[in-house]
Symmetry: C3
Subunit: 591 residues, 3 copies
């Protein structure tokens, strides 16, 4: 905090500057360069031999980021990019035609005197504080963080699937979708046996060797060694995906691949290929989305962490909690808050976790106990209904769910009477129902504002969504929460964060969480804030009408250093043809 | 999230609809039906034999919710309800006389052009999206959750006590207040010995049998078997309350029953009978309140969870944390954040929890160590002063608390010097004091707004409180936080959530929590938001006065799908006679 | 909550009172008395013998707060204070000259009709509710907490260093900075051997004796007994600081003292002496700041808690988490959310914590594993760059950091390939970069408002900062977050809380935390709120200009019961001469 003090001495300069007025339409060419650095799309491998060949042909991605030894395709692209750069700066980030179509005609007015200045905030602050403007690769610390623009990453991996040309991944992605993105390190050549691997890696990576030695893979007669999962040729090493593990564990593989949409089976697919909502934001910002969604679909060591791949570990809730946590999927927290989770925490060290997950072996259930009964690896099998993580409403007591609910009640029967379990389910149903009434009450208020043109801003005054359109996020578009009016965001949170939390809390016995914690009482606050904001928007509008001001949404809603990075601005009109969409909810690209 | 995409194709329809204006005065007759499904009040049982007889006479509550095998009293009530339904729809939810009395006279004005439409949001969205309107018991998923109204629960249990006729519970309540609400399952008849119970239940509910076998109940010479706590007649089974456990554990029972108001002894009582603030909301939304308050007063297995009833478990903080957590009672979090709690977590698995809770046996104390010294089951005995969970201010250093504080200091003496403990107490006193100055600063601002009639909305423009009155929630009424103006809510949170958090943090050694976490710095934010909101409300009002607009609070503050479910709307004027109130703080019913 | 009900009966009185208007300029003389109770500054001790002598001469600080047995220096000061009291009440809390210089000239206007009343909120509420006004040392409970003013603390310790005369500490500070503040208890005299200590303290403080007996201090041949660390003379006992521990542990001491600014070595120093931002608030409110900063610099038992001083304990993350937690330093949470932390929690009870922290001994690293490699006690040695807890931007991939980053990559090599670790570092770099673009976008909006004079309030309409100046907190001043406009606060949180959280999350592998939890998506919300607030401020201003209202910030921004306690009001102009400042970022006192 004390770094703020540094510029105190130039504060007087700043105050003199008080009359200046600025603009902020700053083109971030650097960031745009990278998003366009597309490599040729790699085909999905179907066998290891094909894969190895492909890898030989693929340009190596180096460890160091400052050096760029390998030649051609990347550097060629860089040239192209450099040529494009001036044009990009000259062009507006979205077609003028498109903007014109949506922009309302507004008269010059008192409300329209928003300050304009050609300089960026970096330039202004630089003049005031004497801090130079980055990037210069110097490693200097920018005290206010306002003058630096930062060196962009050297390389990005291309997106896959029909939306692939729109987005990229950071290199980290090679680990989370190894079948598509991983390329072996070329630094060390040669073919090695398992024993030879161990010799070196006991020195190089002693941790994973030690873990492997404790694993069942090391204890079985025909040892499952390093080469079994990674290959023998060090320059053609591979990172094992579910396909490799499945060779020896076919039943588990079948379960893992047996899910439908909304299961682990399609976790990465749905987030990037079918309905790529997450890629609407800069790649660096959605690494976490891609990480969890990637691990869940592509790898087995998200739950059975390497290299001991312990069954006991996967029986405990912690590894599930890495992904199933927070805001729109509070499964982990709610379990931990419940009696089950509390007893797990206080007593689990006294339990024998090598035993099968049966009621006589564990005082309380864990995630796997209920959702992967008897080791079933398709957790979706025990679903009653896919309610989109609680954001769709469904009458859960309807006859068609009777059997699936009875199956849940039977799971509780290890310790609880069927009536107790049924009462819990009903309490969950009711709590969700009430939560939806609250959300609908808020939505009515927001939809009224939309219909009256009183959202501030209206959709057309925001940056376009990832499909390049200007839509009302709560009804038509994509459920955006990063580029909307404040009241839309609050309404969004009432549904996706809180109704969801109420559902997850009641489903997992976290009574507190359903009410006080992240539940009903928090939704009350959001509802009140929706009303307070709606009231102010209407009162201000009424005043403006009375005195003859025609308010136009300020430019900062549409442009700004971050907002200009959004995918919508990078779209050419026509990239997406919504009518051609075959998959539920997707905005499909024109073929 | 991708479900939002589905309705993209109908978005164009929606935009055409932009001129439409809606209303939202939607009568939720379905929900109201259930709240009126009152069964005859059951008398509090005083002995097991009486209880069994009563249970025979009581209509069975079935496991399944779709079937309704048992006859008469319930079905009769359903008939009555059906007849009442049309009338309810015709009547306004509150007497017009009462509304008139409070509603300010407002001229037609620019601010009063709030859009009206006879249709509900369900109807509008249904037309736009083609989603049918529920409920139809079909189990269909409603993608936006906006068109469904849901099948209401089949049955509710009647409330108890003088406010009983105003509220109901979900059936889940039978487990948390078994003496009042539990009725045995009639499916299996016959009388069984403990051994016979075990034979069946080793198959039916193996978990609780396994736990019981590890318990002391199974190890003592005269085994405390199933029948001892549940009876022998399967159609007259009972769920044991403190009364049953107390037969063998009289000392613990005495402690548990020895508390005054604000103790476990009255936990359920106070929340539902004496001052039923929680029932102001729909039953489904306050299940958690009722659960914790119910368990704490009525049962012993909230802390000694079944069926091992382990002493070690109750010595650990986790079971306390089920209820003593979050927002208005941060005891658990603050303990866990402290050195004591951190050391507990990292080392507890190495401690011998069968040992008495003495300083020589445990490196750090737990909840029970300090609040249930030497096994005293009346935790209130160690209170210094009941400050209503920190929401009342008291000069804790006053001479009259010297002895009680010295008793706390002595508890710390196992490891700390008396001066250290006294310094900690003083630091707590001072932190609470400062926190109250911040709250009072905010309250002054809110009270000024109230006095100037500038709250938006003023109390009379909100739904009535549970007593049917329109009162300023922060001073007179009930401390509502779900049906108030935004600024009242923020002020409420500054006191009940944050002053409370500061108190609990300092009391439990969570220095961080007192300041940064949920403490002083968070209260700073709330104070600033109170000021920012007050400033806007005053500036907008000044503008309206200048241009001759008389603002009337918008209807959405008073009515909406959720707001119309609130208890205040269900009150008949005169139900409560505040003058007849004998108990502190209660709004008493007319006899 | 039910305490709110009590005053229901006087509510009618209150409603009658609706026309009354109040003021709030309340002088809190009591609190100001104590802040001026300065004791003579004690010199830093350099040897134990000097220390003992000094202690003899120092007035004892008593255990009890109601009695004041020892004589002279304190009582003399009390007399002075009493004489000063009337004068203080007469004087305004800040020089009129200074206020005049900053206050804008504002015409009488519609917006300026803010209600004034000579009475405090205590007086008003007292009249309404019949609650008497405190303090009276009676221990009475004030139900609304609005009428009480509380008895202030009896004594405060003087601040140290060049800012010392500006602030004080609560007596608790003697434990956290024992070399400066601790004075031994005089109640028990005599010289004792270790064995004699044990005899008494096995009864007096059995916990610490039991812990000590388990410690290595008790197991070595030359027992490190009580007297070794506390001395033999009971009236000259001392609390050991790092100086004492360092006598036997010179290597650890060297590490602990070897850090530069932003290390444990200067933790207390920087928060109170060099740049005393924390003391801008009342002493009681920043006890937590002083506690963590104090322990980290002055004592060893913050990590090696007494009296077992276990190595195993310090190897676990919990003790680090006491301080390295929350809001502006989310290290602990982010570790716990990561795979490393999750596996730590679920498996740590099976690990042998007496073993050295090597990859072959632990499946996952802990704080100490990475930041105190091979037991190095200067954690700063492994820093790449001091970015002020992530609040300064730096191009982390610059060549100058290559070596330090390689050192981190080597730490991961126990289990991970260098390329994996490098990819993680790059993903962190990129996430921080994007987070800064979002903050700069917000800052541009706030700076524009500042330049246009549209912040509500502008800096001159707030209480002065701790240096007595009226500065824009986000650029020049001090990064205040307790006495600023709402939009400044939100922008502040976007940087200090969220950019920081993104950094800490990515650094510790908490992918979720970087995005959803406390990261990017939360920053989206803050950005939207900044825009929504900016839009409202501009629209209201445009309306006011149109109708000829000149808005003046309301008084409640500058004064209020809490705000009047802030240090800025206690400054005399000229106390600080910014030009004389030699240390980075400090506001230096005039010599």
């Amino acid at each position: 905090m004390y770094k703020f003090l540094k510029v105190a001495v130039v504060m007087c300069l700043f105050i003199l500057f008080l009359g200046a007025q600025f603009g902020f339409r700053q083109v971030h060419a650097d960031a745009e360069i990278n998003i366009k650095e597309k490599k040729e799309k790699k085909e999905k491998i179907s066998s290891k031999s094909e894969k190895s060949e492909k890898r030989d042909a693929t340009a190596e991605i180096k460890d160091t980021k400052t050096e760029q030894k390998t030649a051609t395709p990347k550097e060629e692209k860089k040239e192209i990019v450099k040529q494009e750069k001036p044009e990009e700066k000259a062009e507006p980030p979205v077609s003028e035609k498109q903007e014109e179509k949506h922009a309302p005609v507004v008269k010059e007015d008192a409300a329209d005197t928003h300050p304009k200045d050609a300089r960026t905030i970096q330039q202004i602050i630089s003049e005031l504080t004497g801090e130079k403007i980055g990037p210069d690769n110097s490693g200097d610390v920018y005290h206010l963080g306002l003058t630096a623009t930062y060196t962009p990453p050297k390389e990005l991996l291309p997106g896959e699937g029909k939306f692939g040309k729109l987005f990229s991944f950071l290199p980290l992605m090679r680990w989370y979708d190894p079948d598509h993105y991983y390329t072996p390190n070329q630094a060390i050549g040669g073919e090695f046996t398992h024993g030879e691997c161990l010799m070196c890696h006991t020195i190089q990576t002693p941790g994973i060797v030690a873990q492997w030695k404790k694993s069942k893979h090391a204890a079985v007669e025909q040892v499952v060694g390093c080469d079994k999962c990674h290959g023998n040729n060090h320059q053609q090493l591979y990172m094992p995906s579910w396909q490799h593990c499945g060779e020896c564990h076919p039943e588990q593989k079948e379960g893992h691949r047996g899910g439908a949409m909304a299961s682990h089976t399609y976790a990465f697919h749905v987030s990037t290929i079918e309905a790529p909502w997450q890629i609407a934001k800069p790649a660096a910002e959605v690494t976490a989305c891609a990480t969890c969604h990637g691990i869940a679909e592509n790898r087995c060591d998200g739950c059975h962490t390497r290299h001991d791949f312990s069954l006991a570990e996967a029986r405990k809730p912690n590894n599930c909690g890495i992904c199933h946590t927070g805001l729109d999927h509070y499964e982990y927290e709610m379990y931990r808050e419940s009696y089950h989770g509390m007893i797990y925490e206080s007593e689990q060290h006294t339990w024998d976790w090598t035993k099968p997950m049966k009621p006589e072996n564990y005082k309380t259930p864990t995630c796997a106990y209920c959702h992967m009964r008897d080791g079933e690896h398709n957790a979706q099998k025990f679903s009653t209904v896919n309610s989109h993580m609680g954001t769709s409403l469904v009458d859960r007591g309807a006859p068609k769910y009777k059997e699936a609910r009875q199956s849940w009640i039977n799971t509780c029967k290890g310790c609880h009477s069927p009536r107790f379990a049924a009462d819990q389910l009903e309490a969950m149903d009711e709590a969700i129902k009430v939560s939806f009434t609250k959300w609908r009450e808020a939505m009515k208020i927001v939809v009224d504002l939309y219909n009256d043109g009183m959202l501030d801003p209206m959709p057309q005054d925001l940056a376009p969504d990832y499909a390049g359109h200007y839509t009302f996020s709560l009804l038509g578009g994509e459920g955006r929460m990063y580029n909307v009016s404040d009241i839309e965001r609050t309404a969004f949170e009432m549904l996706v964060y809180i109704t969801n939390a109420v559902y997850k809390a009641m489903a997992h016995g976290a009574m507190y969480g359903a009410t006080y914690g992240k539940g009903a009482f928090l939704q009350d606050r959001w509802l009140i804030q929706v009303k307070a904001e709606a009231s102010k928007l209407r009162r201000i509008k009424a005043l403006e009408e009375k005195v003859g001001i025609k308010h136009k949404a300020y430019d900062f809603w549409k442009h700004g250093e971050y907002t200009d990075l959004l995918l919508g601005w990078k779209r050419k009109p026509g990239d997406v043809d919504k009518a051609a969409c075959k998959h539920e909810g997707a905005d499909c690209l024109v073929e």
